[in-house]
């Protein structure tokens, strides 16, 4: 496996940048911004909750791009992008759900409720977990890649549904940070001043971390395919 030095240097630089940004974001979350008046320290969870959701959103968007590009070109590199993005996106979606539960316990007085937003994010998580499981069940590589591309595009409907639902359903209690809502959420707060600065810094940090993790995952997949191919060559020679 050989990559250009320039690309490897960029990846290395981005990795260190992501690490530095993460440390800075944590410092901002705990020291730059103070606790919220009514929600106290629990409100701090909101920075990583939203940041990780952005990470999953970007990842699943990349899976859609990979899917469309694969169906158009049949180039396997797009399938690798799709697979890598879904895996990383699923990890971020897990962080979103778990951090949301930690916030909901003191604010809503429950770890979990079947609110429309929580239900939709669960459907989204299950849809992408199914992507990984179904993918491994198809043996023919070409069929597997085609299926994954189509599924990756269709599953994105669950992401859009999750984003839109709190803006259109009046019966949700999930707060809306950006844009209008018809609901009367519980646990909403004003996003201004230091809260806004910290939020945007966390969003930027999670976006960089997402790109870095997807890039590393793509390289891992390429290495895995190369090893499998080389093994077949060596076995054929024996």
């Amino acid at each position: 496996m050989a990559y250009s030095d320039k690309r490897t240097r960029i990846l290395k630089g981005l990795t260190y940048a992501a690490l530095a940004l993460f440390v800075l974001a944590m410092l901002m979350d705990f020291f730059y911004v103070g606790p919220e008046r009514t929600q106290g320290e629990a409100q701090r969870i909101f920075y990583v909750h939203l940041g990780s959701f952005l990470g999953s959103f970007l990842s699943f968007t990349a899976a859609v791009i990979g899917g469309i590009a694969y169906l158009r070109t049949r180039n396997t590199k797009w399938d690798t992008l799709g697979l890598s993005s879904v895996e990383i996106g699923l990890g971020f979606a897990t962080i979103t759900i778990v951090t949301g539960m930690a916030w909901a316990r003191p604010i809503w007085n429950t770890w979990w409720t079947w609110d429309p937003r929580l239900t939709s994010v669960t459907i989204m998580w299950l849809a992408y977990a199914a992507y990984l499981m179904l993918r491994t069940g198809i043996e023919d590589p070409e069929r597997r890649r085609r299926f994954a591309a189509v599924y990756g595009i269709v599953a994105f409907a669950s992401v859009l549904y999750t984003v839109i639902i709190i803006r259109v359903r009046p019966d949700t209690i999930h707060p809306v940070v950006v844009g209008p809502t018809q609901a009367d959420p519980e646990g909403a707060f004003e996003v201004s001043g230091r809260i806004r600065d910290t939020l945007f810094f966390n969003l930027f940090t999670f976006a960089v971390i997402t790109v870095v993790l997807i890039w590393h995952r793509i390289r891992l997949e390429n290495l895995s395919e190369w090893v499998a191919r080389r093994k077949m060559e060596v076995l054929a020679d024996l």
């Binding site: 320290e41 990583v48 990890g91 995952r217 190369w226 080389r230 093994k231």
Partner: protein, 86 residues
């Protein structure tokens, strides 16, 4: 510690755990694949060496002792072979 600090720590701890697990999985899988790649290359190199020996062996068995040039081509040398056999 302020109000609901334990939940903030719980949330951040869970985030660090999941993110850490994702990074650790990537790193461990990368290390395992690198080891696997090294083993495959080692087997390929050994197999390549065996093929060279087999090719030389085949040449030796095909060669006519009286036509061979001992010490020059690496072909069988009846004299030395006899010596070795003895």
């Amino acid at each position: 510690m302020g109000k609901y600090a334990e939940y903030a720590f719980l949330g951040y701890g869970a985030m660090a755990l999941i993110l850490g697990a994702m990074i650790a999985w990537l790193y461990l899988r990368y290390r395992a694949l690198q080891r696997e790649a090294a083993i495959v290359e080692q087997v390929a190199a050994e197999e390549g060496g065996d093929r060279v020996h087999a090719a030389v062996g085949a040449l030796e068995s095909d060669a006519q002792p009286d036509q061979a040039t001992p010490g020059m081509t690496g072909m069988a040398n009846p004299t030395t072979d006899r010596t070795r056999a003895g």
